[in-house]
């Protein structure tokens, strides 16, 4: 009898929760296509979060619904998905997307409709400068500028005087070229060569020869996924003995698998979540990063986490309190007004600790990260079992 009563009560509660219209959040990620290795962990993270949030009673008593669409790493499809989310699904806010070009393409659409958006892509141009359109746009991943500073500091500490750059011939590679060359100039490091290659290239011998002819102390490879293995292998095969740096775009297990032993000694900047268990005990986001990794691994297996899912986790980490505050100020039925209030509350984000750093937004800064907490230097080493591992070598606090 008692049990039946409790059952009835929980059912009633559940119904009560279900009767409340869900808070609809639109999500666009690249779950297929070349950026899939970034987009899949982002999607997985949001799926776990949606389940966890609703199991614990939703946001302000209302269930949350993530409407997740795949853009296949393609700008046109990302824009189409954004339109659909805004017009048909009437979402309160949008999280996405994975890649920089597609995130830039979405800006016009969300600004026109007045929907706040949190991008998961790296480039600074997505949120800077904050103008009439970009006032609707926020993002969580570190910019190339924030990741260049640690590289240049590490190079300077290693006594590097000359460096070369080889990167993707797309927005990612160009963004890094600009950021790295500016940071290097400031630190008095001379950039003696700046080369490009395509993700799909099967040979980069020409570019590598040009770099070798200038004999730099260090080379930075600006790419993501597994494609940056090719320039590194060509450099080593052609006898380059200097330091090799990669970017945080390669912080995934596939990169280690494809590259193998020739990657030992490679250095890269990364979000602290990559080496969550090696962070010093007083590192401010150690705890959040650890609990995120445990949450992810409990579902997808040990060693399955990547830093990219962390960006999606951080997007929800800043969106959730903003939603709670906005719900106190405005009805969701008054959609346009609610979206405006939500935007203001996102801009008012203070001291939100995420997996990748501490977020402090302002009317001129829609990222709100400092590189001190958001970046650490990592080296690829051979672990005791012979497997390649990420080893923390430097923090900047």
């Amino acid at each position: 009898m008692k049990r039946a009563l409790i059952g009835l009560l929980t059912l009633g509660l559940g119904l009560g929760l279900a009767q409340q219209a869900p808070l609809k959040i639109g999500v666009v990620v690249s779950a297929t296509g070349p950026a899939a290795s970034l987009g899949i962990p982002e999607r997985n993270t949001l799926l776990i979060l949606e389940e966890q949030v609703n199991r614990r009673g939703g946001v302000a008593g209302r269930p949350v619904q993530f409407i997740i669409l795949d853009d296949a790493s393609d700008t046109t499809q990302a824009v189409r998905a954004t339109r659909r989310l805004i017009q048909e699904d009437q979402v309160l806010a949008i999280i996405g997307t994975t890649t920089t070009p597609a995130s830039l393409g979405m800006i016009d659409v969300v600004a026109e409709a007045g929907v706040p958006k949190i991008s998961l892509a790296a480039n600074l141009e997505i949120v800077f400068p904050v103008d009439e359109k970009r006032r609707w746009v926020f993002k969580t991943p570190q910019t190339e500028q924030q990741m260049s500073t640690p590289i240049v500091r590490d190079m300077a500490a290693a006594g590097v005087k000359t460096a070369a750059y080889i990167g993707f011939n797309d927005a990612y590679g160009e963004g890094w070229a600009r950021a790295f060359e500016a940071a290097a100039r400031e630190a008095g490091i001379q950039v003696v060569a700046s080369e490009r290659f395509a993700r799909t290239d099967t040979s980069v011998t020409g570019q590598v020869l040009r770099i070798l002819a200038r004999n730099p102390d260090a080379v930075l490879i600006g790419g993501s996924g597994t494609a940056p293995v090719l320039p590194q292998r060509t450099l080593r095969e052609r006898g380059y003995r200097g330091l090799i740096y990669q970017t945080h775009g390669v912080a995934n297990p596939d990169f280690l698998r494809v590259g193998g032993d020739l990657l030992v000694g490679t250095r890269l900047p990364a979000g602290p979540v990559l080496v969550f268990d090696q962070l010093p005990p007083d590192f401010p986001n150690r705890q959040v990063a650890t609990s995120y990794v445990q949450l992810y691994e409990s579902r997808f297996g040990i060693g399955s986490y990547s830093t990219f899912g962390g960006h999606a986790y951080d997007a929800w980490a800043i969106l959730r309190p903003a939603l709670e505050r906005a719900l106190r100020r405005e009805q969701t039925t008054n959609l346009a007004a609610f979206r405006r209030v939500l935007r203001d509350e996102l801009e008012a984000t203070r001291n939100v600790v995420g997996t990748h750093g501490i977020f402090n937004m302002s009317p001129t800064d829609h990222l709100g990260l400092r590189f001190n907490e958001a970046a650490v230097m990592v080296e690829i080493v051979k672990g005791p079992t012979g497997r390649l591992e990420w080893k923390l070598i430097r923090t900047f606090r």
Binding site: P34, S203, G206, D254, R257
Partner: protein, 343 residues
């Protein structure tokens, strides 16, 4: 540019050019016999090594795929089964094809149980090979006597389908394959991967094999007859569909083996086939899609331009390569009549 850099670039150009040449030869062969521009050839090239990854022991590939049958095996089996269905009027042929369909799955299952490296190598080629002739039977044969343009549209559609399937089968990332012959050999100033010598050797053997095939064997002569005039060939008792299967099989075999030999040098991924195929196609066009030696020369030219452009101005590499090719293509299209000619 000094002598050392020049010789390094030349070695790079030779390696890339040889692969383009192999693809160009296959494309010319298929086009001459069937009027099909086989765009998905590049996909066959990456399918074979990616299938091989599924047959590798975990400590070599870095993945635990033991016991999983690669998607390409299901594709090949399904296509052979479809072929068997189309041949249902002849019980013997349909039966053989159905048996082949099961055979492919059996080979893939065997490979997935863990086999020596060399055996897995051959199994991978055997598993992917039927996809070529089966595509001819399923997609091109029904459009008998269609125009070159119709064939091209079908081929482009197939390319997108196979590339999408490649993503489904193998995922978005690259793979590392063991070299058949590891290490480097010093040639003059340039250390050359031993694996690259295998590519050259295979290119030489294929060229020689094709030459002997066309000049000495009755099948080869029949193919040539088909290439010269399909109608006349049919009148003399040569079956154009038979010629189609043979040419598709040879082209697929060359693409698969090239892919297997190239893969340890490039870390293959599903998306890499297309650009290789495209450059092979451009090389073939330089030979007017009819001349084998010109296609091979064209391939080396494309490889050389690519290396040179990568060294001089890497940001504009592909733009430079294709821009330099434009005048040549223009000149060729003015001169050559046979390209768009129907029978």
């Amino acid at each position: 540019m000094d002598w050392a850099i020049f010789s390094f670039l030349a070695a790079d150009a030779l390696q890339n050019g040889t692969i383009y040449a192999l693809l160009a030869l296959s494309l010319v062969l298929v086009f001459a016999v069937t009027r099909v521009i086989l765009v998905p050839l590049g996909e066959f090239l990456v399918y074979a090594p990616l299938t091989y990854v599924w047959f590798l022991p975990p400590e070599v590939s870095g993945l635990n795929l033991r016991g999983q049958i690669p998607g390409t095996a299901w594709l090949a089996a399904a296509m052979l089964a479809g072929w068997a269905f189309l041949e249902r009027k002849s019980l013997r042929r349909a039966g053989l094809l159905a048996l082949g369909s099961l055979g492919v799955l059996g080979l893939a299952w065997w490979g997935a149980q863990g086999v020596p490296l060399w055996l897995g190598w051959f199994l991978a080629v055997l598993v992917v090979l039927p996809i070529g002739p089966a595509s001819y039977r399923l997609f091109f044969e029904p459009a008998k006597n269609a125009s070159v343009l119709t064939y091209l549209i079908i081929a482009v559609g197939l390319h997108f389908a196979f590339m999408g399937l490649g993503l489904v089968f193998f995922g978005p990332e690259q793979f590392r394959l063991p070299a058949v012959w590891s290490g480097q050999t010093q040639v003059g100033l340039v250390p050359i991967n031993n694996q690259a010598f295998l590519v050259y050797g295979f290119a030489f053997l294929s060229a020689l094999g094709l030459y002997l095939f066309f000049s000495r064997s009755i099948y080869g002569k029949a193919l040539r007859a088909c290439a010269v005039n399909r109608y006349g060939a049919r009148l003399s008792g040569i079956s154009p569909s038979q010629a189609g299967y043979v040419s598709f099989s040879i082209a697929t075999l060359i693409a698969c083996v090239s892919g297997m030999l190239l893969a340890p040098l490039i870390s293959p991924a599903y998306f890499q086939g297309f650009l290789l195929g495209l450059k092979g196609f451009v090389a073939g066009i330089l030979g007017g899609l009819v001349s084998y030696p010109l296609a091979a020369l064209g391939a080396l030219l494309v490889g050389a331009m690519e290396s040179w452009a990568a060294f001089q101005a890497s940001a504009y590499k592909d733009a430079i390569v294709f821009a330099l090719l434009l005048p040549i293509l223009f000149w060729r299209s003015l001169r050559s009549q046979e390209l768009g000619e129907e029978e």
